[in-house]
């Protein structure tokens, strides 16, 4: 029977399971290993502060190893900047104070999510403008084509044959 044939062909051979198991182990290693290899052991006394600390260190960019957050970077300057964040939070400063502190020293570059300012406005606005242009173009095409519908008054061939 045809069905049997298909089943035989697609039945997994023993080797396939092995690949799956190895893959699962490697994936598990990624999940667990992420915690083992964390660069930053900082633990603030208050869980609320700790949460803010983690959020801030993940949104601030390491200035030396430029595609990492300071939370993830083993560079010396990153750990210095983490210390600044920690001390400022412990001193009761707000998240905005910390961001402004970094901005004043390292500029817009340090924020993975740039502020909305005259200099960075285009970063935020361009996608919206492009989307708007796209919407406008498709709207015009749809309108032009729907205007053709009432003009198409000839009966279909199918109808004629009746």
């Amino acid at each position: 029977m045809r069905r049997d044939l298909i089943d035989v062909q697609t039945a997994p051979r023993p080797g396939r399971y092995r690949a799956l198991v190895v893959g699962a182990i490697l994936l598990a290693g990624l999940v667990v290993g992420a915690k083992v290899y964390a660069v930053d052991p900082t633990q603030l006394p208050d869980p609320k502060l700790q949460e803010r600390y983690l959020a801030l260190t993940h949104e601030l960019r390491c200035v030396q190893c430029q595609n990492e957050a300071i939370a993830d970077s083993p560079a010396g300057i990153a750990s210095d900047l983490r210390r600044e964040v920690r001390d400022m939070l412990l001193a009761g400063k707000s998240d905005e104070d910390v961001r402004n502190f970094m901005l004043a020293r390292y500029g817009d570059f340090v924020l993975f999510r740039p502020r909305f300012a005259p200099k960075t406005a285009w970063v935020w606005l361009t996608p919206g403008i492009l989307l708007l242009i796209g919407a406008l173009v498709s709207w015009r095409i749809v309108r032009a084509r729907s205007a053709l519908v009432p003009l198409d008054t000839e009966p279909l061939e199918e109808d004629l044959s009746r």
Binding site: V63, Q64, Q66, G76, I77, D80, L81, E84, L103, A104, R105, Y106, G107, F109
Partner: protein, 179 residues
Amino acid sequence: MNRFALPIALFALLVVVLAIGIKHSPDKGVIASPLIDKPAPQFSLPSLADATRTVSTTTLRGRWYLLNVWGSWCGTCREEHRMLLEVRRSGLVPLVGLDWKDDDAQARSWLAQLGDPYEVVAVDHDGRTAIDWGVYAAPESFLVNPQGIVVYKCMGELTPEVWEKEILPRLQKRQAATS
């Protein structure tokens, strides 16, 4: 043909915008300093030569200086050193060193071995002053005017080209202004 005119024009515009972006983007990894044309961050740090003395920005006020951030652990600083000695010999602007996260003894032996181009060296053990100045990799140099305003920042090695193209013209402008 006409219906393609607009898309092609838009594409051409995009190419031009991206080309300008690539051409004018700063060297990879260089972060423009927000400190330019702003008051130099204040510091008051122990001197490398004599830890009982302090080096502070208030005493540096009233004259030009070139703040050079270095460390004996920094390889590029070694390459830069010869140029710093040249600057010292020129006598055009005093060099103020900021010894960043360094070991004092090693820093002293570095200067003893290679020559000391600095008028004075401030010691920044914990790296806080460097952060105030937006330093992220040594060497870096800041040209500060008598009003205490940062007028130029050189990231990386201070090369003869940087000296001639960026620093000398700014120093000469000052002479023109005072004479």
